[in-house]
Symmetry: D3
């Protein structure tokens, strides 16, 4: 979880949200901590771009706000091109996320928690779990509409709480939708989770899987695992090479 020279120029992190401001609210502080640690951060907002509701001016305004918020966080911004309130976790959505995963070569993904009362959040969480099926690190953040949430992984955001609120404030046009996003509740939850984490202010994450970075450089597998451990039975030599 660092940006040491042994890993080169830092980790590539991808945060995915269904709507503008979902990512800032769920993991904006953690993303700023990643940027501060030298990691590269990309925010993928699945709806609210070219296909969003409203006239061209409103769409352009919303896109500009999201761009401003990404800049405050220090992240690159990508759009998913889906339509608000009509997201489904079909193969098209999975492929769009797979494409951004390839472009960013991310190996840590932040996304909505799977159990959420908003259909778009559920769909994006499900599609991300499909697209990231081979990634060793997938963390889920909480939204105001999240239902069951049992976090066990935390990031200290004490140094980034003001920045997170500034990023949220960039979304001036989201007024109606954001009736559930109150700044004092954002601060309160950070303090609540901070107490759970035994630190100051924290963002909380429910991990699907989280491989820790301990070693500066892992040796190749063949070097340390004796042949007998390969577990390939001798008599199934008909098994095609591609399957191993």
């Amino acid at each position: 979880m660092d940006g040491t020279t042994t890993r080169g120029p830092g980790r590539s992190v991808l945060a995915i949200g269904a709507h503008p401001d979902d990512i800032e609210l769920g993991c904006g502080g953690a993303l700023m901590a990643h940027v501060a640690a030298g990691d590269t951060v990309t925010m993928l907002v699945m709806t609210g771009g070219e296909n969003g509701p409203g006239d061209d001016g409103q769409i352009a305004g919303r896109r500009a706000e999201q761009q401003r918020a990404a800049e405050l966080i220090g992240a690159r911004l990508a759009w998913g091109g889906l339509r608000d309130c009509e997201v489904v976790a079909d193969s098209g959505t999975v492929r769009r996320i797979e494409q951004v995963l390839r472009e960013t070569a991310a190996d840590l993904v932040y996304v909505h928690a799977p159990d959420d009362s908003h259909q778009d959040h559920r769909a994006i969480a499900a599609a991300t779990l499909g697209a990231a099926r081979r990634l060793p690190r997938v963390l889920h953040y909480q939204s105001p509409s999240t239902l069951a949430f049992a976090p066990s992984v935390y990031v200290d955001v004490t140094a980034h709480l003001a920045g997170k609120l500034d990023a949220l404030a960039a979304h001036a046009s989201q007024v109606e939708r954001s009736a559930m996003v109150e700044p004092d509740a954002v601060v309160a939850s950070a303090r609540h989770w901070g107490a759970q984490a035994r630190i100051g202010y924290a963002e909380a994450f429910q991990p699907t899987r989280m491989v820790l970075d301990l070693a500066p450089a892992a040796p190749a597998v063949p070097a340390s695992v004796p042949a007998a451990w390969a577990l390939v039975p001798a008599h199934t030599s008909a098994m095609p090479a591609g399957r191993r």
Copy 2:
């Protein structure tokens, strides 16, 4: 999760187990990865030392085996001084663990999973959760007697699997008790969890809480949190300073 220079000479890690070889079996590979990353590792074996069963020679033999295993891992060894099969999670056990936590200044603890069919394992897990109540990082490992286990945090042990087996082999006298500790099952579980973690071979951990290390140096809280966020109501000025 690293030992970069910004954190000084590396993290202090404490692994706690009820009996000789519990720690090696549950997280021996992860401990070797910590050592390889420059962290300081202490193994606290709660029973099997001076109060163990057997005559003086047997006790000395078992202590020598555990010492040898710790050396293979590269860890310092401490004994809890409790008696095998009679461990309870009372205040005495909690205090013994608190003492080692203070001595090592550890901020990451590995210990048995709480739901285990062996009474000593349950007691050590419970006592450790009490002793480590202010620590931001507590991870639980699986034992052959563990019941419900839902891991989500993993460490890549591909480079350390042979070393882990060597450390387990150092416990030659544990023959009878270790009927449930079969080397092939150790390798198989590492491969099974590795597939879950989307890496080669892994040890799996159930987190009570795990604060990630992202930033090289966190600023002090007052510097970044506006006064209004301190959440201390003005009219409760009678609240003693020590409680804040």
Copy 3:
């Protein structure tokens, strides 16, 4: 949870089910208890009305049966207008439920449990959780097709069990579909849950959230919370008023 004069003419309760007789089976006794306590109850049946299968006579017959059952319970009846076995939790379904929530001003909702083997039940539970995202009271009832169900909230239906069976019996034409709805199982489950609840006969509910009614009249927030607790950081004055 009462209809005392301090709350005026009683609470408005909304019960939602996918098909005719789902509501009676899941929470018919509780609804009769609400009526007896002076609350206003609305039953929203999402399918089986104008779009249902069968010829016009069958449809009219089924609607008349449901109307009779609602009258036995003492509830107002509303129809969702969806088609049996083809319900999805899309924005249209959410909006239909939101509309009835607005019309009834309900602040307590009963609906299917989310984990159910019938696709319509799952969809209605999910859509209701979306539509009721700002409501403080959402309780889930069990159906014969419900899978995981962990109730912790109960209503004593001893006085209403006979009435519940009468309301179920009003659905004479539902014979085929109701092979899983056996009156003796209805009584047995009420007794089983009654034993769990430490009362006579009970209906059992799994709460998503349930705010209890303790105080006759809650003072407004500003009166009792010091300004410092508002948690709004001073320097984010650019935050638009609408977001607070």
Copy 4:
């Protein structure tokens, strides 16, 4: 959940905590809401009284603080007579709680959550579940040391948050133990749970079972349940009357 005249002078509520200030922290606001609604509230503090650590003056001081806190809440105070950090859930502890349950005729109990890293909290939660085995209402509150906590029942404490902090402040001598009890975290958690409950500020509870009060007066069982439902098989007439 009310104090209507049909239930006479109001409900009898019992709150149980292991140590001084546990109850105030976990459910102090809810208790004040009960008092405001006309309910009778008793606080049972299991340790810290006559058997507590310290000299007679310290013990007397701590008891006076707890008495002052109970007065601020409007509750009667009872002591469990156990020794701090040495509580076990044995038959003696169960009997002590049973005795207070009988004296108060309470039918709603608040107590620690069962999964807690403090051994005394675990023991009191377990003993209370035993003592209250026939009670229809048992709610668990969160402590700073609580581990898994999945609340679904909430009480609005907006009107009582200042009072709760005052009651906590009465425990001036608990300075050392209360390092985990920070007023700003108390406010933050109330706001966090309030957002979860869709109200202002809330205390959150995990229910073991919670029977709702809907009907002003429930008829007796025989009046409404036909004889056939009694489920007593005719041929087991040898069954003693006392078992029915």
Copy 5:
């Protein structure tokens, strides 16, 4: 769980998978154990047949491979006729599975675990739970893409592990899709679950419900249940016979 003469020619078992090789991977060993015990086994592969991707030759090749794998297991093969990556749990999918359940008269079903990152696996698990809503035995197997999985039912596959690998090897053309299906991981998981089950090598299953076969021949219900237990209230004589 046997094929004794009292049950006639053996149980009818149905295994359902979304894609070619899903069934072999998830429960191929258990199916071979069923065949060895005299049970009749049918494999229902929902996609990859006539509607699959690729030209006619590729489709025919894939179908031939699946046919060969079924023969190695000793099972009859059926196709669901759905399209890969586009499966939804709608009424059409449910009806297709109901049809095969009727044809096979199966009373034990194996299917994907419900919580899976692949949309087709989720859909097939959900549709099967709907179609098998009246069956007393539904067991879920793990796939490489399965997320939460808490098995408690196991089948000893020590005698069938080589056969399972042979059946998997029959799917030579599935190379690309099967990057997550590595033979050594198959063996390792069987050993891992075997250790959990306290046997050699095992396949692990999460039960939705599993009725055990204990008695060679169960008497009819009326013979042993006194009339009073029928729980049918006398006064609801208007209840139609079909509902009882």
Copy 6:
């Protein structure tokens, strides 16, 4: 799960309960089904025998009642020799259960569910899980004091429900303790679980692990597992034979 000739004279089943009548109530019907299928059943009652409360006549009376109940079920009876309400899950309790497991050579154990509000039930469940740590089949039954209970394994007890009630009625002296054991609730729960299991009347069990019996005779491991799968790394030849 049968008593076919291939398994010789039938399975040996051990049911364990804390007090007289706990076993009958939790799994009496299943035990009768085992007996009917030719299995050998032993009931181990841990308290209430020679160390129980009351004078010698009362103790003798209670023992005679339990003996009569065991005879009605067709089971052998054993006593654990512990004292009512003072059971702890220490090594002595574990050893007593281990002793009976050895004597009976049981490979299927029924015992209390682990999460129970009665301390003796919790202790017996925990001690049994320790004693049965190498057994492939451990099923937990529900008691009136059981808390969380999520059954997924069922036994059809339609043919044995009357017999179960007769066995319970044999415990005439248990009047006071059995206030929570009402025959109508026993029948109701059997019907409730029967509906969950999709059969008539059922007893429900939460499995810790349940290995199914499919094959009439399993070949030895070495015969079917190629050498390469043994997973024993070549270079750790120092590993003592006893550990393999």
